[in-house]
């Protein structure tokens, strides 16, 4: 090519689109690394317990690797510009969760949860693949926003018809399987919130009256937020599920703020949250007990009734110290009930130590950050709000449950994303990652070198 030709070509196309690298090879390399790390963890458990590599190690690695490869091929095929990080992070967290559950299964010979969790993980990655393959454009979802909203309400209301399990009415028991419909409702609600706010944000932002430096909304547009608030309190009172209610409300307030930029909404939201929490804390003994546990984690010990779950969880974290006891060598099983689900992080904390825990938190933070980054890169408000909503959902969920088991906030039953035993949760989280992949693919394939305002 001549020099002249070059100038000519440059002159002919005045604003060449910047094509971002696809980075699928990087994603594949990270997936291989993630699978190897998980297999290493699986072997470490066996070596620590029996001195031999567990016989299932190869099958476990092949299964996880095969699933991840299918997901990767789907991304390569239909979302070639997608962010390379969310999928490997999902694989690593899911694999680590399987290792931790397998490790805890060794302590409970009559209750093996890892095989079922592997089935659910397969379903989750299957759903991920289906979403990536079939959902060509996330904006399609906007069209069905109200269907999703209604579906979420139905899913949330369903468990009320079923008996309560351990004080919370959040499970459906069908044919031996326990399903938590509230988990699926989270994604549906995030889509609904994003669509609703994308459509109505101007009305929400520009009406209302100013009070001091805060702009407060008028009564007419206050309707939706009050509805959501009532919904959260309804979930809390009828299902005694403080965590989910907190999650929905937090998600809505964050999205409302991002959509309108009105700090008045946050003030209203916080006020309502405090009022609701105070009322429920007074009238629900289940919730009041959780708050007492949080304020005085060792009160059952002082009363001579032995350690409760929260103090056992704190003991487990403390026993881990900085470097941890090593996989398979801790005693987090002392926590007892829900050690594989709500309290799974205590096992990570004891056996991997603060170092492993910090790495886990960083993985979550990275996943959340990638979501926000996709939101920043996108142009249209629905996609932005969807990305922000999904990322915030993850962040809030991690905060609510990890903060609960480490004594930072009152403990509420909730699954640690990807790590905890629980099929509904794993499937839901894979759906979230699928949507993030889809959104980030849109964002990066449209990228023109300028940041959207």
């Amino acid at each position: 090519m001549t020099k002249a030709g070059t100038t000519l070509a440059a002159a002919r196309s005045p604003a060449p689109a910047v094509r971002l690298p696809r980075r699928r090879g990087f994603e594949l390399a990270l997936i291989v690394l993630a699978v190897l790390l998980c297999v290493y963890g699986y072997c470490a458990v066996g070596l620590a317990r029996t001195g031999t590599v567990p016989p299932g190690a190869l099958g476990y690695g092949a299964g996880l690797g095969g699933l991840a490869l299918v997901a990767h091929l789907a991304v390569r095929l239909r979302a070639p510009y997608a962010d390379p990080l969310p999928l490997p992070i999902g694989v690593l967290l899911n694999g680590l969760g399987l290792v931790l559950i397998y490790r805890l299964d060794l302590e409970t010979p009559h209750d093996h949860a890892a095989p079922a969790q592997l089935v659910w993980s397969t379903l989750g990655i299957g759903l991920f693949t289906v979403v990536v393959l079939l959902l060509r454009d996330h904006r399609v979802l906007q069209r069905y926003a109200y269907v999703f909203g209604a579906a979420a309400l139905v899913l949330l209301a369903l468990p009320i018809l079923f008996p309560a399990v351990n004080g919370a009415r959040i499970w459906l028991r069908i044919a031996g399987f326990s399903i938590q419909p509230g988990e699926f409702a989270k994604v549906l609600l995030a889509v609904f919130f994003a669509a609703y706010l994308a459509a109505n944000r101007n009305a929400l932002a520009y009406t209302g009256r100013r009070l001091w430096r805060l702009q407060f909304p008028t009564g007419r547009v206050l309707g939706p937020i009050v509805t959501i608030w009532l919904l959260s309190v309804g979930v809390l009172v009828l299902e005694r599920d403080l965590g989910t209610s907190l999650l929905f409300f937090g998600l809505f307030v964050v999205l409302l703020y991002v959509a309108t930029g009105r700090t008045g909404w946050i003030a209203v939201g916080l006020l309502l949250a405090v009022l609701g929490a105070d009322a429920v804390g007074r009238f629900e003994p289940h919730v009041a007990g959780r708050i007492e546990d949080w304020l005085y984690p060792f009160h059952t010990i002082d009363a001579g009734n032995g350690p409760n779950q929260l103090s056992q969880s704190l003991f487990a974290f403390a026993a881990g110290g900085v470097t941890g006891t090593g996989l398979g060598l801790g005693h987090s099983v002392l926590i007892g009930f829900a050690v594989k689900s709500d309290f799974i992080l205590a096992t990570a904390g004891e056996e991997l130590g603060l170092a492993g825990l910090a790495a886990t938190f960083l993985l979550y933070a990275l996943l959340v950050e990638r979501g926000f980054r996709a939101g920043l890169a996108l142009r249209e408000p629905f996609g932005r709000l969807l990305a922000v909503g999904l990322a915030s959902l993850l962040a809030l969920q991690v905060f609510v449950i990890a903060g609960g088991v480490t004594g930072l906030i009152p403990l509420t039953g909730m699954a640690m994303p990807f790590l905890a035993q629980g099929g509904s949760s794993v499937v839901t989280n894979w759906a979230i990652v699928a949507l993030l992949i889809r959104v980030s693919d849109s964002a990066r394939s449209q990228y023109d070198g300028r940041e959207a305002p």
């Binding site: 959340v368 922000v388 990890a402 004594g407 930072l408």
Partner: protein, 504 residues
């Protein structure tokens, strides 16, 4: 915050001038803050509060680690008298005892519920594997958090002597302590009635009920009478008084008259002290010792004076609360604040004078070994997992209690008791045996059943130094008060123990 829509310079932006990117960044900042709070809180729990939570008594981890490996063994004569049972439970290994009641006063118990006592307690670091000496590479051990394998404790006990003492007491309330005079090695330590410490090892229902039963048993089987119970030593204390009198020069000739009346009026009172034996008036020290004349020794004590009597008693180990063998020994007492009447009674082992059986064995040992008293000890050495020596074989302190000539003359007196006095039943053919009987009255108005004492030492004829010193106390020796005497009930037990040592 202010409304950005009202700023004219932002009116040209898309979305009506509301820069959503900024709000997205703030939302991300909020989420990042939440995750950072999690990390900080995790550091608080795992680093700052870690030790506090680890040390919480409700935290089972310390117990799980402690019982996660077999406990080290306590050895007698090269054979372990302990073991460990693998229960397969959360607290995995439980202590087991071979011949538990025989060695209970030495081993104590190691219970998952009630802690440890005696050697199990004193040597717990070695036995449980936490002793820093057991870790060849402490830093590496800290990092890997692997516990060291437990070490063993080798005792100084003589198996046959221990068995002879236990058999001799035959379940009667009492105790035997035997030591090797030349070294201070404890050869026998028996308390009766005893119990099986293995009943307390575990953590189940059976253990709590055994504990309830044992701790409320009126016979007090868990009381270690050899080192933790003091008795009025009665006439056996006359060895100390005689040593003080000889050392202070109050008596220079064993066969000279002592110028003592019978009955003896306690100085400053109208109380008259009498004797059970006849012929004590003006008796020589030798005769008074052989026939245990209270009047003579009460007067001797007063003649020596409180200062020298206290000094001699303390040289033998009385009033010393710090004796450890390695577990603590109850202090034997000789009251230093006494008037002359109380001194007279103290000098015949009454009033506030009290002694453990081990203390009286030390008295006999010092006499036997030429006035030199070696501190008693029970642990020969502690060894690591592969037999390497961790501690022991070191010198144990000794002190001169009385001058060698005094000791030589006291040996003569004590030998006389066995040859022709109250202790003839302790005689052993082929050995020189010295002893002293005692019958200590106690209780309000001396109404209690008296304690029968015998302290003695033995030296085989063809050897240069004594092999054993022993003290025996039998609490309720016999129902008939007249029949009770150290010579009758306690001396045969002492003889069997000494014979076991000499024969072995």
């Amino acid at each position: 915050m202010s409304d950005p829509g009202r700023h004219p310079d932002r009116a040209g932006l898309p979305d009506g001038g509301r820069p959503m990117a900024r709000y997205i960044r703030r939302a991300w900042g909020f989420c990042a803050l939440l995750l950072a709070a999690l990390l900080l809180n995790a550091a608080r729990v795992q680093v700052v509060q870690s030790r506090v939570y680890d040390a919480n008594p409700a935290n089972r981890r310390a117990a799980i680690a402690r019982y996660g490996q077999p406990r080290g063994d306590i050895l007698v004569g090269g054979e372990p008298v302990t073991g460990s049972n693998d229960t397969g439970e959360q607290l995995r290994y439980e202590r087991a005892y071979r011949n538990g009641p025989l060695y209970a006063p030495v081993t104590g118990f190691a219970s998952q519920l009630y802690g440890t006592t005696f050697l199990e307690h004193a040597a717990d670091g070695v036995l449980s594997g936490t002793d820093p000496l057991l870790a060849p590479l402490p830093l590496w051990q800290d990092m890997t958090r692997r516990p060291s394998p437990a070490g063993n404790v080798v005792t100084t006990l003589n198996r046959t002597a221990q068995e002879a003492a236990y058999r001799g007491l035959a379940g009667r309330k009492g105790a035997v302590a035997a030591i090797e005079p030349a070294t201070g090695r404890v050869l026998a330590l028996v308390s009766s009635p005893s119990y099986d410490p293995g009943q307390l090892s575990g953590n189940g229902e059976a253990v709590t009920s055994a504990w309830e039963r044992l701790s409320h048993d009126p016979e007090k089987p868990m009381l270690n009478r050899a080192v933790r119970q003091t008795y009025p030593p009665g006439s056996t204390f006359k060895v100390v008084t005689a040593a003080a009198a000889l050392d202070a020069g109050v008596v220079t000739d064993l066969d000279a008259d002592t110028d003592s009346p019978d009955p003896y009026r306690l100085p400053g009172t109208t109380t008259r002290l009498t004797n059970e034996a006849d012929g004590c008036e003006n008796a020589s020290l030798r005769a008074a010792f052989e026939w245990s004349c209270n009047t003579v020794f009460a007067k001797l004590g007063v003649d020596v004076g409180a200062r020298d009597m206290v000094a001699m008693a303390q040289a033998f180990g009385f009033n010393d609360a710090g004796v450890r063998i390695p577990f603590g020994v109850a202090p034997s007492t000789f009251d230093p604040r006494v008037d002359r009447a109380q001194l007279a009674l103290s000098s015949i082992g009454q009033y506030n004078t009290r002694a453990t059986p081990l203390q009286m064995a030390m008295v006999a040992a010092a006499v036997a070994d030429g006035g030199l008293l070696h501190s008693p000890y029970l642990v020969e050495r502690t060894t690591g997992h592969s037999g390497e020596i961790l501690s022991g074989n070191g010198a144990h302190p000794a002190r001169q209690v009385m001058s060698p000539p005094t000791a030589r003359r006291l040996r003569e007196l004590m030998a006389g008791v066995v040859q022709e006095g109250t202790g003839t039943r302790a005689a052993i053919p082929g050995a020189l045996v010295g002893g002293k009987t005692g019958t200590a009255q106690h209780g309000v108005g001396n109404s209690g059943v008296p304690y029968a004492w015998f302290v003695s030492w033995a030296q085989a004829d063809n050897t240069l130094e004594p092999q054993v010193a022993v003290a025996v106390v039998v609490e309720d020796a016999s129902a008939d008060r007249g029949e009770i005497s150290g010579g009758g009930d306690a001396a045969p037990i002492a003889r069997d123990v000494m014979r076991a040592v000499l024969g072995g």
